[in-house]
């Protein structure tokens, strides 16, 4: 194990626990964004080939798309509830 992977892993573990324990819905999305940064960096440090870099880029952009949709729906359903 490298020292860099241990630091990134500690940050990711903290983010997972804070997503699980947070009450507010909007602040869960902020922690989820930080977690996807960590996982994207871990994928690139684990695979160590150009295909791993492509995987990290595709994963990060699609996870951003998904959290964009969740935030839009929270704003829309605030008026209905």
């Amino acid at each position: 194990m490298d020292i860099l992977e241990i630091v990134i892993g500690a940050v990711a573990l903290l983010m997972t626990l804070r997503i699980f324990l947070e009450r507010s819905r909007a602040r869960k999305l902020l922690y989820l964004c930080c977690l996807s940064f960590c996982i994207s960096a871990l994928i690139a440090l684990y695979v160590k080939s150009p295909m791993g870099g492509i995987t990290a880029i595709v994963y990060f952009i699609t996870s951003t798309l998904s959290s964009n949709a969740i935030a839009y729906t929270i704003e829309q359903t605030k008026h209905i509830e």
């Binding site: 990134i8 684990y46 729906t73």
Partner: protein
């Protein structure tokens, strides 16, 4: 446990906490956020056994599934609200 790397450990923690979170929360948007956490764990485990093409396919299919669930939730919510409003009005109209 000593020959595991960092990525499988983090992904396993994401899977277990995400699964418990989907079951224990009761608001549907909270459940969908936890489902995103669970899929993050699944993609990490697929990458850690070096199936990179399936990881790309899976991470493309994940926001499609999320968007379908969110659109369905909005439609479901408006249907239930409309039913409650009609349920109060309709007997008055039919009399």
């Amino acid at each position: 446990m000593k020959n595991l790397e960092v990525l499988p450990l983090i992904s396993g923690v994401c899977c277990i906490l995400g699964g418990l979170g989907v079951v224990l929360h009761t608001n549907p948007i909270n459940k969908i956020i936890m489902l995103a956490l669970l899929e993050i764990g699944m993609i990490g485990l697929i990458v850690s056994s070096y199936y990179l093409d399936i990881a790309i396919i899976s991470s493309i299919c994940e926001p499609i599934c999320t968007i379908i669930l969110l659109l369905g939730y909005m439609k479901y919510l408006t249907t239930i609200k409309k039913k409650k409003k009609f349920g109060r009005d309709l007997p008055v109209l039919s009399k």
